[in-house]
């Protein structure tokens, strides 16, 4: 397998993982919205309510930065990272 193919395979793996986490917090948990709302969440808000106000939103922010860092590592590993600043 060429270097480029290996790079793409790892990139695809990271994509799948990212999309799986994304799926859980954008779709998965809301399948059980009514049940989860009976439980107390952070800061004392009902749990589902908290996810819609802050939880899912904040997790997406962190997820994107985490994804960006992981992807950079993959690019560096195969020598595909760009030179220069960001």
């Amino acid at each position: 397998m060429s270097k480029q193919e290996q790079h793409w395979e790892k990139t695809r793996g990271l994509l799948m993982l990212t999309l799986a986490i994304w799926f859980v917090f954008s779709i998965g948990i809301f399948l059980f919205g009514a049940e989860m709302n009976e439980v107390g969440g952070p800061f004392g808000y009902p749990l589902t309510y908290w996810f819609t106000c802050q939880g899912s939103l904040g997790i997406f922010v962190i997820l994107i930065f985490w994804f960006a860092n992981r992807q950079e590592k993959i690019d560096e590993e195969f020598g595909f990272s760009e030179r220069g600043d960001d």
């Binding site: 994304w22 917090f25 954008s26 779709i27 809301f30 106000c53 922010v61 600043d85 960001d86």
Partner: protein
């Protein structure tokens, strides 16, 4: 005061700007104390901020194609994040979102999840690859990846349909705010708003829009957060509302139980002015089925990843790496406002319905409520209404009606904040609507000038001529949008959601598969775009004309049907036609690697 390169000095420039804006707010507050009238304060706020944007627009003028189309590809990550956040958060987000949460609760909050979750798709599926591609516009990617003028043209059509649906709502919002703040009729105010919008984008294109959007973000976020924190502290609800409103949320639930949701008769509701609504849904309880919530969130997420005015912001970063990080910053800056909207809705609702608070009106006598100053003001503005349906002389929960915009616009006044805050909120709403309108008009004009005119009609045109065409189109599209906005056909929020559905119906899969599926070819992309858009639009028309719909897909989520048709047709047609040629396949391989030259040259 400022030496050297403008880009290196950005933190300093915008630091001074922010300080200047805060000083301006304080000066206005002092003027208010000295007796300046509310009207003059409103005019000062809107005029001052718009003048600043116009100056930035003028300073950013350019005659170079890559500066005009992609701001020279040198916008640093954090600033691009701010610009994207302003580009993204429209007049609807600013003025109507808290109101939507206030009235519809959980069912509406699918939009919050959808409008943020979509950025994960943008970051992981598209933005870095399109940046590597080096395109000027989204149809530029479609046209080069799949080849041929038909694919490019279809992408231009989808982009125009989606963005134009969206832009009329934004021009409408600038008109509404300008007409209130400057006290002129809406039909003229729309054009005042339009001229302000064009001042930012006409001379500098993407460069001008980028630097004005950063300035607009700073104004809109201050204008949104300051009142939320102030009201929360003033009500004694908590120093940091986001972490401290659990008791207030619980209290609203208690009051809802106590009052009950009494349904009004048809005859009674007919007396309520159009556009106003009562509180009929639980504040924090789950009041929508899982599919209703998820389908709306999903449609908004896929729409986010297909809307060209957002995607093109990531063409302006210096590198692929920066494009990825920049998506994170964009969402962070969006998160600051979105996470505050539910808090504002909570504070607003509690302050109105809790009889134990001095501002609470439920349980008071109707005559008493009708004599309150702020009630009279907002009643006159057609945003508040009470009526004694049951004739008992006291105001019940089901007898109080409010417009969605009132949550953002009226809450500061109800909570007893000085008028300077209302002026600030008007400036923030104006900034939000202008920045989005600018992004959208530019997206349409750039697609028409670059993809339709330069790439299809006259490939030999010189840069100077191309940029003249781009600017003429900008003005024409702006006026067309303003003319339609002046007719006041649709509400602000409905048309915004449609724009997402149109974009995802036609563009989501052709964009994503263009990067992630090498086998996708021209025929497939053409089928995907054409059939996706047609079936999505067809479904909307069918449901609007009394069609029953299926699978719980409504007129707000028709993009789910459109994009499903798009996916199936694109895959099937791609597979039954020849695979893309070797050069195209090599191009896809190139796009997947961040290093190396972009596919399209710096000037193309």
């Amino acid at each position: 005061m400022i030496k050297g390169n403008f880009i290196d000095n950005l933190p300093k420039v915008y630091g001074i700007y922010t300080g200047g804006f805060l000083a301006f707010i304080i000066i206005m507050a002092i003027c208010e104390q000295m007796g300046m009238s509310a009207k003059v304060i409103g005019i000062c706020f809107v005029a001052f901020t718009v003048a600043i944007y116009a100056i930035i627009g003028w300073l950013s003028r350019t005659a170079q194609a890559d500066a005009y189309y992609v701001a020279g590809r040198q916008v640093p990550t954090v600033f691009n994040g701010m610009a994207t956040a302003a580009d993204w958060m429209s007049g609807a987000s600013f003025v109507a979102m808290a109101g939507g949460i206030y009235f519809k609760g959980y069912g509406y909050m699918a939009l919050l999840v959808g409008w943020t979750g979509g950025y994960v798709l943008v970051a992981s599926l598209l933005a870095p690859y399109l940046r590597k591609f080096g395109c000027y516009t989204v149809p530029d990617f479609i046209g080069t990846r799949y080849g041929g003028n038909l694919a490019r043209l279809l992408a231009v059509i989808v982009l125009t349909v989606a963005s134009f649906t969206y832009v009329t709502a934004q021009i409408n919002a600038t008109g509404t705010i300008a007409s209130v703040a400057l006290d002129i009729p809406f039909q003229y105010a729309v054009y005042v708003g339009l001229v302000s919008i064009l001042l930012c984008s006409m001379l500098g294109g993407m460069r001008g829009v980028t630097w004005t959007q950063v300035a607009q973000y700073i104004v809109l976020i201050i204008a949104y957060l300051l009142p939320v924190f102030w009201i929360s502290n003033k009500m004694g609800a908590g120093f940091f509302p986001h972490f401290m409103l659990a008791d207030e949320v619980a209290r609203i639930g208690e009051l809802e139980q106590q009052f009950g949701f009494v349904a009004n008769s048809k005859e009674n509701l007919a007396m309520v002015p159009k556009g106003l609504a009562g509180i009929t849904k639980a504040h924090s309880a789950v009041n929508a089925t899982p599919w209703a919530f998820i389908s709306l969130a999903l449609a908004m997420m896929m729409g986010t990843a297909s809307l060209p005015h957002v995607m093109m912001r990531y063409f302006t970063t210096p590198s692929v790496k920066a494009a990825r990080k920049s998506v994170g910053w964009s969402l962070f800056f969006i998160f600051l406002l979105y996470s505050s909207a539910p808090m504002l809705a909570t504070l607003s609702k509690l302050s109105l319905i809790d009889p134990s608070l001095p501002t609470g009106i439920i349980g008071k006598s109707i005559a008493e409520v009708q004599s309150i100053d702020w009630y009279q003001n907002w009643n006159q503005a057609n945003l508040m209404f009470v009526s004694d349906f049951n004739g008992n002389g006291t105001l019940e929960l089901n007898e109080f009606f409010m417009g969605g915009k009132a949550v953002v616009l009226a809450t500061p006044e109800i909570a007893g904040l000085p008028y300077v805050i209302s002026g600030l909120v008007a400036a923030g709403g104006m900034a939000a609507a202008m920045s989005t309108a600018d992004g959208l008009i530019l997206a349409i004009a750039n697609a028409l000038s670059h993809d339709l005119y330069y790439k299809i009609i006259d490939p030999k045109a010189e840069t100077a001529k191309r940029l003249v065409v781009a600017r003429v189109l900008l003005v024409v599209i702006g006026f067309a949008g303003a003319t339609i906005a002046a007719m006041e056909i649709q509400g602000i929020l409905g048309s915004v959601i449609w724009a997402f559905d149109f974009a995802m119906s036609g563009l989501f899969f052709p964009l994503v598969l263009g990067v992630w599926w090498k086998r996708a070819n021209r025929e497939g992309a053409i089928a995907g775009m054409a059939l996706g858009l047609i079936s999505g639009a067809g479904y909307l028309i069918w449901v609007r004309n009394g069609g029953s719909g299926f699978l719980g897909i409504t007129q707000l989520t028709f993009g789910i049907f459109g994009s499903a048709v798009s996916l199936v047709s694109m895959v099937v047609v791609s597979l039954i036609t020849a695979e893309p040629n070797a050069a195209t396949q090599r191009m896809v391989d190139e796009v997947r690697v961040p290093s190396g030259k972009s596919i399209l040259g710096k000037q193309h």
